[in-house]
Symmetry: C2
């Protein structure tokens, strides 16, 4: 099986000196390496009944690449560890889903490990590259006066998860959003180059990730709930359930959009940067002195006790 | 818990620009990156009844570092993914075991991920470094006429596993050998510098790994069974069970010694290289034209159908 997997892989970076068949992959490095590792587990991050093997492979790599996006790094190589139950015979389809995503984002799956185990578990370690440290953006640079923006749309993945739970496959766009998250690599690099002061990818939900960014920056994020960009189709679904679509957008996980802060002077440059990729950038708040997150309703009052779908 | 883990980590490389608290770790690279990933799973690679959390952490990092040793790379950074059952509350002890090994081998645990899941699973991706590609050694360079050597001792880990299965803790050296494998990083670098033509770490058992090396090199390895360096204590244990200790040494896994080939002209240089680290290098055979592995008995006949302890 390992040989079949290796045969499905393609070197896209031109930097690989050795890879499959040796004890480790050998890569000609660029000056700055950016590395993240993420695991997804059957029954926790996906279920076999709703996710095809290709979806599972896609998801593992997408979540790891999303961390590189949030740093503004160029994608590079991925290293995959697959824990396979004896009954799982779709490893090649799983790697196929991963390889298609890798192709789209100029990533090379350069190494891996396949072992037996009771629970299907997929771990992706990804390395991206930069020429200089100051090309990259951390979570810690947000300063009072900065604008807070977010790429794309929010709440779609959570809505898709809810639909799948109900055995529904429509609206297809929401289901697709959950099954095939797209890392915002081009947007992350463009925002970093445009002068972003801090970035984080929205994996745990905007409210949670905004708190992480605020904490690391030692600043306060004031976010206007009504300005959150809703995923198309989310609003009618939420209203039919008696839910507030904006609250759902604020707490739904797995959107893998980028939450970014930029000084007002580079606002237009940031808009042009993401505009070039076709993914909108929406201004949803600003950074103030203080700490933590302030989610503001339309009347300016702070919203607490966000409510979503139960899981 | 993640914060407590992060507080236990130490930057040993001086190359880290960003690490804990951001989306990804940022490392100032050396010219050549060498990366491997390995997972270990509860009930497959260890059991909670015989392995303490510290042993589990040690094992995951040791097996990954062993791959860097087999390339002759300098150790660098490790990225850890931990899948924790809700009942597992020893993550800090596990990281402690890993961190102690990391300290011994100048490795920095630079990033990680902790998620919930039903089966305790620990994945380590490690990156080592080199200045030039030709400092590294693959599996593919063995040539007819080369000598075949192996570091340290064989069969000890398998004997330790067998003892633990019987609820025995003596001989302690064999049990320790199983619970605390040591990656041969200094030996790997020294052998690479001395002119080794091919290397592989002995993780699946000498016979299996020798086959991998032979296949990749397009050559034949003739190995004299009676010259295998037995782990002290293995022989009496094997004989008491009516087993051949040399066959056990040839098929026992998880020794993490290095199997190496060197041209005869650099034999003494290779001996001096490992002698400086205190780990013996034993000559066990030679490379000939052909393919596959030939295990030779004392009378020169080929040994087939190796027999070990049943698992």
């Amino acid at each position: 099986m390992i040989q079949a997997i290796e045969a499905a892989l393609v070197d896209r970076s031109g930097r690989l000196a050795r890879w499959t068949g040796d004890d480790a992959a050998v890569v000609r490095a660029r000056p700055i390496a950016v590395t993240s590792i993420d695991a997804i587990v059957d029954g926790v991050h996906f279920t076999r009944s709703t996710h095809s093997p290709a979806h599972i492979g896609h998801r593992a790599l997408a979540t790891a690449l999303s961390d590189l996006a949030a740093m503004g790094a160029d994608p590079g190589e991925a290293y995959i560890s697959l824990v396979c139950p004896p009954t799982f015979d779709d490893a090649l389809e799983l790697v196929g889903g991963m390889e298609r995503l890798a192709e789209r984002f100029a990533t090379t799956i350069a190494g891996g490990d396949v072992v037996r185990g009771p629970t299907l578990t997929l771990t992706a370690a990804v390395t991206g590259w930069a020429e200089r440290e100051d090309e990259l953006v951390g979570r810690d640079g947000a300063r009072p006066g900065d604008l807070v923006g977010v790429t794309g749309e929010l709440g779609g993945s959570e809505a898709g998860r809810e639909l799948l739970k109900r055995d529904q496959r429509e609206p297809a766009a929401l289901v697709h959003r959950h099954l095939c998250p797209q890392p915002r690599l081009a947007e992350g690099r463009a925002l970093a180059a445009a002068g972003a002061t801090a970035m984080i990818d929205v994996s745990d939900g905007l409210a949670t990730d905004a708190r992480h960014l605020a904490e690391r920056s030692g600043a306060r994020l004031e976010i206007r709930l009504r300005d959150l960009p809703l995923a198309p189709g989310l609003e009618p679904l939420a209203l039919a359930d008696g839910r507030d679509p904006y609250q759902l957008a604020a707490i739904g996980g797995d959107d893998y959009e980028l939450l970014v802060t930029v000084p007002p002077a580079v606002r237009e440059r940031a808009e042009r940067a993401t505009g070039a990729t076709g993914v909108p950038l929406t201004w949803i708040g600003e950074v103030t002195a203080g700490d933590d997150l302030d989610l503001l309703a339309a009347d300016g009052r702070t919203v607490t006790g966000l409510s979503g779908w139960e899981h």
